[in-house]
Structure formats: C-alpha cells, structure tokens
Amino acid sequence: MATILVRYGEIALKGKNRGQFEQQLHRNLKGALHDLEASVTRHRGRFSVNCPDAVLHQITIRLGRIFGLTSFSPVYETVLDIEAIKEKAAGIVRDLPDSKNTFKVKARRSNKDFPYSSPELNRILGAHLLHSYPGLAVKIDDPSFTLEVEIGYHKAYLYLERISGPGGLPVGTCGRALLLLSGGIDSPAAGWLAMKRGLSVEAVHFHSFPFTSRHSLEKVVDLCRKLVLYGYKLPLHQVSVTKIQEALRKNCPDELGVILLRRMMLRLAERLCGQRKLQALVTGESLGQVASQTLESIDVISKATRMLILRPLIGFDKLEITGIAEKIDTYQTSILPFEDCCTLFVPGSPVTKPKLAVVERSEQNLDLEFLLDEAMKTLETQIIR
C-alpha cells in the first residue's frame, strides 16, 4: 500500500469558508479517484490518500489536476516511535543513487505529545544517517535531497519530494457558470481558467447542421472529456442555431451576421442559465483577435444580455492561450479542421465597429422570441464524466 499526503492552500482561507472549502475539496478528491482502489482521509489541514502501489502513478497524475491543491507527496509511514522512524529514514536513503550525497532533514511536529521537538528530530535523524552512510554530508543550502518528516497524531510520515499541485480553488466553491464552447482553441482554455477559480462549469455548444459537420459535435464532446478531468462532472448542452442562421441570412445585412448570431447565442445561453440556475457566462473572448472581438463588437454583443459575462482570456496573447490548450491537452483536438457555426457565414468584410442602434434596428426584422423558443426546443444535454 502507498500513501500520499495532499496539501492545500490553507493560508488563503478564513473563517467559515474554510470548512466549506475543505468539504468540497474532499468531495472533489473522492470524485476524481472514485474508480480507483483508493481511500481519501481528511486530517487537520491535510488529506491523505491510501492506495495499492500499482495505482500510485495514476493517482499522482489525477491529483495534479485537482484545483485547490498546492502540493502532494508520496510518503513512507511508520508508527510513532523514534527507533522506527530512524530505521525508515535509513531505509529510504539506502535506495537513493550515489549522486545524492548531500542532505538535510526537515522535521515538523504537528502532534505535540511526541517526545522530541522538531529541531531534536532534525539532529537525531541527521546523526543517524551520517553514522549509517559515511559518504553523506549535511548541507543546509541546496542539498541534493531533503528528507522531510511529519509527526502526525497516529503515524509519522517521511518523504523526499513535493509535487506541485495546480493551485486555484476547489471546483464548486465559487458558484456555477455556463461556458460557451465553440470547438476552437480559446473556449476550452477559458473554461479551464474558470474552473481553476473554483467555478463549477456547464458547457453549451451551438451547432448548425447541415451547415456544419456532425464531426464538430464529436470534437466538442472530446474537449469536454479533457475539461472534465479537472472537475468530475460536466453537463454539455447542445442547441441548434440553424433556423436562426437562416433567418439572419434572409432578413439581415450579411456584414452584421456574426454579431447578430453571437447576440442570439448569448440570449440562448441566458435562457439556459435560467433553467439550470447558473450565475454567469464564461466565454473565450480575447481582445482584438478577430473582427467580432474588437472592443466595440464585444460591447455590442454583450448588450444582448444582462448576465455577468466572465472573459478569463481577455488579457492573454494567442501564444499564451495555445500554451494553456497544450497543457490541458485540448490543442490537438481544437485544431481539427471542422467548421464551427460562424466560419461558414463569415462575410467578406465583417463590421469591426458595429453601432448598437444599427444592430438593434436590424434585429427588428426578426421575431426574436419565436426564434429563441424554437432553438431552445432543440436543446439536448449529456453529462460528460
């Protein structure tokens, strides 16, 4: 059996939030590991995961995706006995390669009933290692390894490494939001950043058969499967905007097509939020990338709804966004060449500085309520796990 100590950013927490934060993190941990033979235990300021050695590697990969974790360490356990701890320490060091020849010991005593203080432990264990392995030397600054020891209430834990966690806040502690997921590179990255700040996310994808291929849906499902690794459940909603696009083609100026379509998407998203009790929208918009993302366009588009719109990517460069997409493994899926709803209807010269009055006037040619009602009838939802 292996044990992993899991640490989270307790310093950032105050008062009542702390309990809620820990409970949610506990749920998220259990959710992420539910299909593996692993048990999660909550301690004071820590979690520990117990699992068979065979799944240790898989578990460390999954822990690396749980927001709220600052770091974790696979540990060696012993009983609370100084001789047992000394023996375990010597055993751990015996298996290290010869190049690991300088060290320090860093003990931490949470359980004050243990008879030795942290500095005493450092000294006792350091001396024991020096005595056991004559080739070793103590080096306080930049040693080649650090043996850390934590004295808990029931056991002592020894470990050599701290693996960085993803940071952030546990998904589900900051509210619920709807991610507008196009299938491009940006929106999955935006969704990931929203989850990182503790939002529980649902996704909506607008499609337009037969103008687009059914492959685009497969692609969005694949993207959700990547995103859901950072949470444990992701409802994916799909809404057809084919009829809306037809109406826009027939009744509105071509050059406003994209702006009008996006405004319709926001209205549909707002309705969906009402149904699903979601508090905000998350989009992959980043300033100035394409015609529909000039400041003027974003402004005119967002005036279609009164909902709060979060744009986690607003300050990111394309390269930075691509970096996130690669890190969360959505990039290769996103660049598959299937059209999304917008690309096929992009006019030769789209408006880059739309006027709200002009846009609203051309919407008067449309029966908005009817179009939105009809589109909502095409809603299909699947839960991605």
Partner: protein, 385 residues
Amino acid sequence: MKGAYLDNSATTPPHPEVLDLMSRVQEQFFGNPSAIHYKGIEAKRIITAARRQVANVLGVREQEIIFTSGGTEANNLAICGAARRNRKRGDHLVTTAFEHHSTINCFRYLEKEGFRASYLPVDASGMIDLEMLQHEIGPATTLVSIIHVNNEIGTILPLTAIGRIIKTKNPRTLFHVDAVQSFARLTLDPEGWQADLISCSSHKIHGPKGAGCLWVKRGTPLDPLLHGGGQEAGLRSGTENTAALAGFGLAARISGSAQGKKETAFVTLKRTFLKRLEESGIDFSVNGPEPEKAAPHIINLAFPGIKAEMLLHALEEKQVYVSAGSACHSRHPEPSHVLKAIGLKDDLLTGSLRFSFSILNDLDEITLAAKETTDAVEYLRSLFK
C-alpha cells in the same frame, strides 16, 4: 428502409450471409492456419476455399492470390514490392495523375528512395494519352501502375490497349492494375490486359473490412513488405485473418456471380438518378466521362455555387449518404486531386459530390435520393445566392 446509402465506393454494407459465415468461422475455426495439428488444418482449409472463390472471380490460378489486409496493402505490395525487387533492371515507374492515394503516395515515397516517377496527365474525362504512355516507357521502366475504374469519377481505363503498348515497348515492364473499384462488378481480364499484378478489396463488394488480395502472376519478381513466418508464399507474413478471408471469399462468390445482369442493374440505377435530377430542373453537371461510358456504379456531379460539404450534410439529415470528392472547410481547402487532374474549375471543385451505387440499392432509394438532392440544392441556393 428510409433514406439511401449511396457511398458504396467508400464501403458497402456487408452481406448477411457473409456476417453469418464470419461469426461461425471465428467461433469454430480459431486455430492458427500454420499449426500442424487439426485446428490448424481446418483453418487452413477455410482459407484455401476463400482463395479458390476469389481466384474464380478473377479467372486466375488460386496459388496466385496473395491475401492482404485490403486494397491499400495490395497496392503497396505491388508497387513498392515490384519497384524494389527490380531496381537492378531500372529505376523508372509510370502511373497516372488520378490514381487512388495508396498508389500516388507509394510513388511519392519511392521517389524519395531515388526512383524516377512519371505521372501521366488525364483529360477532362479521365483518359490518358496512349501515345504519351508509349513515349514514357523505356528500357529502365520496371513498372506501370494504372487504375481500372477511377474511384471518384468512374472513368474506365482501356487496359487492353494499355497492356499491349507496355508489353510491346518493353516486355519486361510489369503491369499493375488497381481493380479495387471494379473487382466483382465489372469483367476483369488479367490475360487480355497482359497484367502481372491486380489489387482487389473485400469491403467494396459487401465483404468485411481488413481483407483484400493481390493477384501475382506466376513468376512475377516481387519483394514482400512484411517479413516473418512466410505465410502467403512468403509475400505477406503474419497470421491470416481466417474469418475476414472467409467473408471475402463468400462476398466475391456472391458478387461475382451473374455479373452481366448486375451491370445492367447498375446502368438502370444511374440512368434513373440522372433522369430524375434533370427533370427537377436544378443546375448541375456531370464531372468526368459521359455517364454511359463510365463505370455504371459511380457518378460525380457538380452543383455550381454550392459547398459540397453542406450539401452532403443536408442529405445526411435525410439519411441519404454520399461523399464529397473534395473537402471544403473554409480554413483548410483540400480539393480532390482527381477533380483537379481532370481540370475542374475552382467553384466546381468545392461543389462536387460522388454518388456510388451497389447491388443492394433499389429504384425507390434512387428516386428518393434524387428528390432529396433537388430539395437540398434549392434550399442551399435560397440561402447563399
């Protein structure tokens, strides 16, 4: 059945008898055909029977059938195998500009190995210039590879004339025919063509995927691609896929019987389809050869001003399945090399669809497909004009 499956040049639905036979073979005759105990002998017997069935349809000796994983492998074995084996005699290879990718890409690969390749241009109907062929063949030409029926536009190449030219000019030049689109649908004449190698596939004739063959005329010098236990006369090592080969054999027998009657049936399907479309008054034209001169089961149509992929998806919504010779995503246009080779203009390149029939299609399906095509074309024209 609702809808119509008209993408039979991509693949065909398997015959029920074929599926039934395969599941029985998989269950009962699982032995390794190379094993010397009874389980091996009975599996070997199944393969021998399949070999006989395929050889009968081709009118060749059964020992000359080399089973492969399909048409692509057969083309690779024929082209790479012949070119490499005969390199001492010459380094020049000839093919046409509108072959299947499995041929074209073998030629391109061999060019990287230092071979010289000639790609004969084709005219608007997909015909090569026989004088040019004669001119290309020289003492160093070791292989000519020609497709029998082009998979996208249905041109039937005059293989008897081609074979005569090749063998008159250089009797030692090998003649490979890619008959994937014609095997068991049109009459094949290995002797009359003076062919040395012929590729065939199983899943285009209602057999399973993962099976095909290369006919290798006795005495044809060829290098294997796969080295190992020496199965298939040393030309294709690897444990045989007994069930798939049994399915291939049966499919060849079923499809190969009463061939003349079937050709007539195909002609009727094609004529009806074209007649219905003409009656509808929509704007379209036929790509490649005149319909009556082309293979009876393939027709490629251009719909000017329409994006083929949208039309394809619109038909898909009505359960009519066809194929777009060219992929037309706005971001990654990849026009078909075949349609480019016959000199199609840009707007037709992105607006062409292939309809391909099988013996399982009936006139009702054809009529339905013509009606749905008409409706979809009119609908898309109304939006995009």
